[in-house]
């Protein structure tokens, strides 16, 4: 298991050189992921700088306008700028991803820490309930909850968070189970440190890395699940632009205006890719074995023997 101490040790062994560049070359996935995510953030948060029409602004005399001319990517069935809606739609997608991931993270990590550390009855109860949640396919549970409660930003975010809580809890619990028997925890317990303090001060810092990796991957699936809900007509309410909803609207005009569905589709793809690369990249970065491997790879290209990640 990768503890911080080990990681730091390994890291100091990597060749000196200019640090940034070496990191960029050593972790291509991380680099591309961060770059892509940064690009998405810039274009969505900076949307007003790039667009000449508001995302809700209708031009009834330019309905289903073809791309170029007044509208870079054309207009939709209400004469709204597809380019503008695409950029603004990203804000909502990223917001859902971040909010749902944060909710899932807080609840999941708390449950994971508690049940891994307390073990016994608490562990059994928490884990069985989470096992019950996790056997629901993501979309089936999210769809049921969203439909039952009624679609809104917070329902969608809460539904997606619910689906992801067990994933955080499981990885954290796994880590904690192996940490709790370690000496520094045992001595803290003997010294009479409170449970809360042990959880937050001693255990949490040691599981930060898996949490961060899990959060990146979760954000990617959150983008996907939110878009799926919208595509099935149960997502974020109109008229706010949202990628899944745009894709669904555009699907009706697939034959004559393919860009109306392809553009938001590509954006969902790009966002999922960014988070997946980020997650993978962070895992590479945190895993000492990979660091060892990449160092070796750079030194002598291929070499047999070492085990890989996973």
């Amino acid at each position: 298991m990768a503890t911080l101490a080990q990681t730091r040790l390994t890291r100091s062994r990597t060749p000196v050189r200019p640090r940034v560049w070496s990191t960029v070359w050593a972790y291509p996935r991380l680099t591309v992921g961060i770059a892509l995510l940064a690009l998405l953030l810039v274009v969505t948060l900076g949307a007003p700088l790039f667009v000449s029409h508001g995302p809700l602004e209708q031009n009834l005399s330019a309905v289903l306008h073809l791309p170029f001319g007044n509208y870079l990517l054309g207009t939709d069935q209400l004469g709204r700028d597809v380019f503008s809606r695409t950029l603004y739609g990203g804000r909502l997608a990223l917001a859902v991803a971040v909010v749902s991931t944060v909710i899932a993270l807080i609840i999941g990590v708390a449950l994971g820490l508690l049940s891994g550390y307390k073990a016994g009855m608490v562990d059994s109860v928490v884990m069985r309930v989470l096992d019950g949640v996790i056997v629901f396919p993501d979309l089936i549970l999210a769809l049921s909850i969203t439909y039952a409660v009624g679609p809104s930003f917070w329902t969608v975010a809460a539904a997606i968070a619910t689906v992801n809580v067990p994933k955080f809890a499981r990885v954290v619990r796994g880590q904690v189970l192996s940490l709790r028997e370690r000496e520094f925890i045992a001595s803290a317990r003997v010294a009479g440190v409170s449970t809360i303090r042990i959880l937050l001060r001693h255990l949490l810092p040691n599981v930060v890395e898996v949490i961060v990796v899990q959060a990146a991957l979760t954000a990617g699936t959150a983008i996907f699940t939110a878009a799926s809900l919208s595509f099935l007509g149960l997502g974020l309410p109109a008229p706010q632009p949202d990628w899944g909803g745009m894709l669904k609207d555009g699907y009706a005009y697939l034959g004559s205006r393919p860009l109306m569905s392809i553009i938001p589709g590509l954006m969902i793809f790009a966002a999922m890719l960014a988070f997946n690369l980020l997650g993978d990249g962070l895992r590479d970065r945190f895993d000492p074995k990979v660091i060892a491997r990449t160092a070796r790879v750079r030194a002598g290209r291929r070499e047999k023997g070492a085990t890989d990640e996973q």
Binding site: L56, N59, S61, Y147, P151, P237
Partner: protein, 535 residues
Amino acid sequence: MARQMEIPAIDGVRRRQVLQAGGLSALGLLIAACGGGNTPNPTINSSGSSVAGKPVHGGTLTFATAMDITTLDPAFSQNFSERFAFYAMYNTLVAYDQNFNLVPELAERWQTSKDGKTLTLFLRKGVKFHDGTPFNAAAVKWNLDRLLDESTNSPLRGQLTPPVRSVKVVDDSTVALDLQSAWRPLLAALGERPGFMISPTAYKKYGKDYGLHPVGTGPFEFVSFTQNSSLKLKRFDGYWDPSHVYLDGITFQNVQDAQVQLTMLRTGEAQIADQMTPQLATTLQGVSSVAVSQRPTGDWYAMQMDCDKPPFNDARLRQAIAYATNRDGVRDALFLGKARDAAGPIGIGWAYDAHDSAPVYAYDLDKAKALVAQANATGKRVRYVNSSQSDYQSIAQLLHEDYVKTGLNLQVGTVPASDYYNSVVADKNYWSLTKWTPRADPDGLLRNILHSGSNGNTTGYHNPEVDRLLDEAAGINDLTKAAPLYHQICRLVEKDAPYAWVIWPDALVPHTTNLGGLKLYPDGIYRLRSLWIAK
């Protein structure tokens, strides 16, 4: 909209062209309306007509449909497309033509007693159900009694009660319905869901499973059904009117997407489909194998507002919404002119008032703003709830732009399409977009949504004069005497504005050009039974 006003030089030209096109087609409708008496456009107006000439026998028709069939038992039917199947498999007691005029079907003729309290139906003789059961007076009584029986729990019961007290068999081919009072709309109901006759033998045999083993007297009999996939029917050899049946069979093929349906028509995999938008229709120019038939309907979209609760208990706010409703915008931008501006709740049929073709509150943002200001509602938060269905979304989103300009602060919410009407009934939404389809008799819809005693009156509208006129009109069997009362009702309601009517859209039916015998009905339900396919 904002853009158009700022830069009239660029967008104004196109807009005028669009308006002209829309205006022209509306004019065309009006001309046709005059030709058909006081009903608008009874003729089929096709942008590419179906084949004329002598019908050809043979072939199986494939109908690409976004079908939502869940049961084939009319007593429990709720979904729109189920009726496409019913009209092929079953007969109704009476039928109505393309102008909502009653015509004979299983009842060859009917008679109302002087006091209006007895309706006697004289049945066609020699008719048999697909399973060989004879169709007779006893079968009619059994069918109607089943709907009237409370324990059946049929949603149709409300269409027969309170008027129908009992059903009597007079002789083998005569049935008498004993009514509480004269009730003209009953006959039209017998041409709709309550009038479909099912085989009592089959029902006794299959019991609660009957809905998947339908047996009627219609020209096509049931072969197989897979929900969300297909429904297969074949020609019934013992049909009583064989001279108007040409196809060997009909297949309902589930295809949800309009674009895909169109592709199937182009490749000849299907002959007729049910999803078409005006935008898609324009992509068909130059395609010789597919046509879109069009006719006006009495369907309407309207903004509905709760009259009995704040904020819309203030009539000025309802009027403001009505004034701020950009009907031309919806008609031209969303329906590309294939719709009419709706003035009120009756857009078609014998009760339609040709003089009533312009909305009471014509589009005028300044008046809307002034009314909102008068009501002290500028900046007021008003919750607006809409269905997730795409037509609702488009229309509401288009109209919002103007509603915001009235000074109201709109809080928009969305409810899943399937749950939308229930949330309206439950009184959770005091402002929402709604769509209604007319019944053959105007009483059917108007009583349901406007009478203060009706459970379907979701706006809380209460006008004693309207209630009185509705009750009086329903007892009049002479249509020429009843029609003026409906005109009066319409004017009252339009002025009170529980609804801000938006448009009456046209029906658009895509089909291959080798399809013959197509007749479009104002209720929007396809009658597939007399279609034929040219070789």
